[in-house]
């Protein structure tokens, strides 16, 4: 199966619906204006993944949620460690020392991830009249290439990877991060049908 340009445009629309909602939820939670980029949706080669993530061995924070219900796949939130510390600073109102993350930090980040993913998905689900259930987020700090293992495996049968990315932030004081949606190839078909039906 191949992913066409039309599919990529369609996915961009879907991401746009979700991202706007997630940004306003995060904005409400933190009392900060959160900017979001227009989602980008493209097929990229294995070699490009590393480049986009600041290098294959760049150490980043990854939070992963599995989608089930009408749509199967994953949502990944990826942040530079410095941006993750900044998110915590805004959220908890205290400085986070330049060292390893502690367990309470993980819990706070998990909450951010929970809120963003559930608002993102609920906007998409209600617009398209689908049921999409997010799992509890799983977090890890590791090399970018190991974290980006997820899209590589979801699209393992293709020779490139679907990269549906929305950037949050912009303002230096704001919360910065990358939000990736990765529906499985089967669920791509479901999304297509649902989007056509909802127009």
């Amino acid at each position: 199966m191949e992913i066409s340009e039309i599919d990529l445009d369609m996915l961009k629309e879907v991401a746009n619906i979700g991202a706007g909602n997630a940004a306003s939820a995060l904005s409400e939670m933190t009392g900060q204006a959160i900017d979001i980029s227009v989602p980008k949706c493209e097929m990229i080669s294995y070699a490009e993944i590393a480049e986009r993530m600041g290098g294959a061995d760049n150490v980043i924070l990854g939070m992963l949620v599995q989608m089930s219900g009408d749509i199967d796949g994953y949502i990944l939130l990826a942040q530079e460690l410095e941006d993750a510390r900044n998110t915590l600073r805004i959220l908890l109102g205290q400085e986070i020392p330049q060292q390893d993350f502690e367990v309470p930090d993980y819990e706070a980040m998990r909450e951010v991830c929970n809120i963003m993913v559930s608002t993102y998905l609920s906007a998409i689900a209600s617009m398209m009249q689908l049921t999409i259930m997010p799992s509890v987020p799983e977090m890890t700090i590791d090399m970018a290439m190991a974290i980006m293992n997820v899209p590589v495996l979801v699209y393992g049968e293709l020779e490139s990877v679907l990269f549906l990315r929305t950037e949050f932030g912009g303002d230096a004081k704001s919360i910065k991060g990358n939000f990736f949606m990765m529906p499985t190839l089967e669920s791509l078909e479901t999304l297509k049908k649902a989007l056509t039906g909802s127009l």
Binding site: A56, D57, M143
Partner: protein, 159 residues
């Protein structure tokens, strides 16, 4: 001399003093073959367990084709197939806490199929560092065949 760094679904063969490395193996496997007499080393970065016997695939991407391809390129570079030993690393289950996630569990199958592919070629596996739920960066020194395995927060070791 500069280290040759290979990406996903790529392979390279080097001679001492040149090194070969790959960064951030997750569920992928780095298979390393080494000829200590000629000091020739090769590495392939395997992504998926099985090519499904399709033709026209990127051979280095799959366990069943990648190891064969590495061997033939080693031999072409002057390695003696009877002198070869193998080491393997990778095969993690990233985000292992998401228990029911089958798509991400490919690490185990990658590990199994890669080992089978090496053993089918009658090459002894002398060391491995596989499994867990963390990434690995590996670097081979063909001077002595040592394979350095680096992780985030779990230290560096040589196998």
């Amino acid at each position: 001399m500069k280290t040759v760094i290979i990406g996903m679904a790529e392979l390279a063969v080097v001679k001492a003093p040149q090194h070969v490395a790959t960064l951030g193996l997750g569920s992928c496997i780095g298979v390393v073959l080494y000829d200590k007499i000629n000091k020739i080393g090769g590495m392939v970065h395997i992504v998926m367990p099985d090519s499904g016997k399709k033709s026209n695939v990127i051979r280095a991407k799959y366990a069943d084709t990648g190891v064969d391809e590495l061997l033939s390129q080693m031999v072409r570079a002057g390695a003696n197939p009877r002198a070869l030993t193998a080491k393997l690393a990778g095969g993690a289950h990233m985000f292992g806490g998401l228990g029911k996630s089958d798509a991400l569990k490919v690490g185990d199958r990658n590990a199994f199929n890669s080992k089978m592919a090496v053993l089918r070629l009658r090459i002894p596996i002398i060391a491995e560092d596989m499994g867990g739920s963390y990434g690995r960066t590996i670097e081979l020194d063909p001077e002595n065949g040592s394979l350095m395995v680096k992780t985030v927060g779990k230290g560096v070791k040589t196998i």
